[in-house]
């Protein structure tokens, strides 16, 4: 049964491509995408993926290999946490900071949302993000806030594709990604004629900058940065090329000149 529908589908595709030659590139890209999806799905045992078994296995491995081999660390962590970093990372399954930056328990207070965005300070609308930043800066007293963007980000792609003219096709996604609309405007102004993928790549980095600037709208962040107790850094994980970029927002007072 499965085979028939597969062969029918392939036949239909062949027929379409014979008739419409220009669709070959589009088809090639889509087939590549499907192959990639199937490849990653099968590597996590898609035949009978049982999430309960998966997390049980994961948890038991964690307990045996990490928890029980380091009782001193986990004993201390049970009493409290004092991470040096606060990290904003994307919810994307491929960019967990624990893997990419090798963070161990206790290292980093991590907030993950679509396209690792930091909205401007708003007590009502964005209380969740505000709470996380307030907790990290005032209670945990982190030394660095790092906002990490990444390649092939679905959220940024959405930002670049959605018209964002008020007629929303989604309940919440468009309202969220428009936080980084300044990044989109900047990229379109600077590189209108570039390929869409290039524009997305630039936007992914610019959106990190918008988030860094938005961090400064939180009074306790501004205070920490001015005092020098808090630093704001931006990062970009390019998993297509296996590279990582890092930069910082520098902030200071110039020497005073008598004029």
């Amino acid at each position: 049964m499965g085979n028939e529908s597969y062969e029918d589908a392939i036949e239909a595709l062949k027929k379409l491509l014979i008739e419409k030659d220009e669709l070959k590139d589009v088809a090639a890209a889509k087939v590549k995408k499907i192959t990639a999806e199937l490849q990653t799905a099968s590597s996590s045992d898609s035949k009978s993926f049982d999430p309960v078994e998966r997390i049980k296995e994961g948890f038991v491995t964690f307990k045996k290999e990490k928890y029980e081999t380091n009782p001193a660390l986990y004993g201390e962590l049970a009493k409290g946490q004092s991470p040096k970093y606060m990290v904003f990372a994307c919810s994307d399954s491929r960019v967990c900071p624990s893997h990419v930056l090798n963070f161990h328990p206790g290292d980093a207070f991590v907030v993950r949302n679509i396209a690792n965005m930091v909205p401007p300070f708003d007590k009502v609308k964005y209380a969740g993000v505000g709470a996380a930043i307030e907790y990290a800066v005032l209670h945990l007293k982190v030394e660095n806030i790092v906002v990490i963007g990444h390649s092939a980000c679905g959220g940024i792609k959405g930002l670049m594709s959605f018209p964002l003219d008020g007629n929303n096709s989604t309940d919440f996604i468009e309202d969220w990604v428009k936080i980084c609309l300044p990044a989109k405007s900047k990229v379109l102004a600077e590189s209108e004629s570039s390929a869409f993928e290039d524009q997305c790549g630039r936007c992914e980095r610019e959106a990190v900058n918008v988030s860094l600037a938005n961090l400064l709208t939180y009074p306790f962040v501004r205070e920490g940065v001015v005092k020098g107790t808090l630093a704001l850094k931006g990062g970009y994980y390019d998993f297509v090329n296996g590279a990582f970029e890092l930069w910082e927002l520098q902030f200071g007072i110039s020497p005073v000149h008598s004029i």
């Binding site: 986990y74 991470p83 967990c96 893997h99 963070f103 919440f172 900047k186 020098g228 007072i253």
Partner: protein
Amino acid sequence: MAFTLGGRVRRLVSATSIHQNGCLHKLQQIGSDRFQLGEAKAIRLLPRRTNMVQELGIREEFMDPNRETETSYDFLDEMRHRFLKFKRQKYLPEIEKFQALAIAQSPKVMVIGCADSRVCPSYVLGFQPGEAFTIRNVANLVTPVQNGPTETNSALEFAVTTLQVENIIVMGHSNCGGIAALMSHQNHQGQHSSLVERWVMNGKAAKLRTQLASSHLSFDEQCRNCEKESIKDSVMNLITYSWIRDRVKRGEVKIHGCYYNLSDCSLEKWRLSSDKTNYGFYISDREIWS
């Protein structure tokens, strides 16, 4: 390589003319006439009306170049070390898998976890790159649809409708600072509520149930109970979203709750099942692993 963002921050700020937030408008006004591209590290972004001397303290201490550079390079070195470890131990040995992932992700699981540094869901539950779409916020709270947009529900919508994940796990944990703040918060709604208190008050129902049932227990024990009650509330709030509820009823999405106790390294998990007879939901398949 750390370089100044002076010029770039300035352009960035002036491009935000469509920003609604009053604060950012002020930054914008100051930005355009205040700094030039030539002034290396010096970017002033504070509103004029602040008393600069009071806020900054001693200028020399602040401008100590050695201290700043040292911290920058330490940070750079540490991040480089961390990233290269990942690249050597994970990325390069499994390069084909990562190249396939670079084209598309198709995670089967979405996890909503706490931002707490000790409870990364990938670390504790062993998810590898590509397996779990992860949302992390303070106290792993999911608010109901009627409360309006939050950062969490846009991610929920993306994972369920676009990525079409098949499983949603809400993972709470013991010794949660957010829940402790909820339990110790006095119930008067003041203007002085901090952002943390405003956010964790979304778990008010869990707090009330906990206090009713276990007011005789110590504060710590009550917090443990509240952490578990809050997971249940977050799970039930997931159902308020029609695109989740419909898929759960059709059996396309399964919802699980789990509670990680970091004092004794145990994991309690259960499933939310839908009752076909009365269209309700109930908890099933409860297990504790330790």
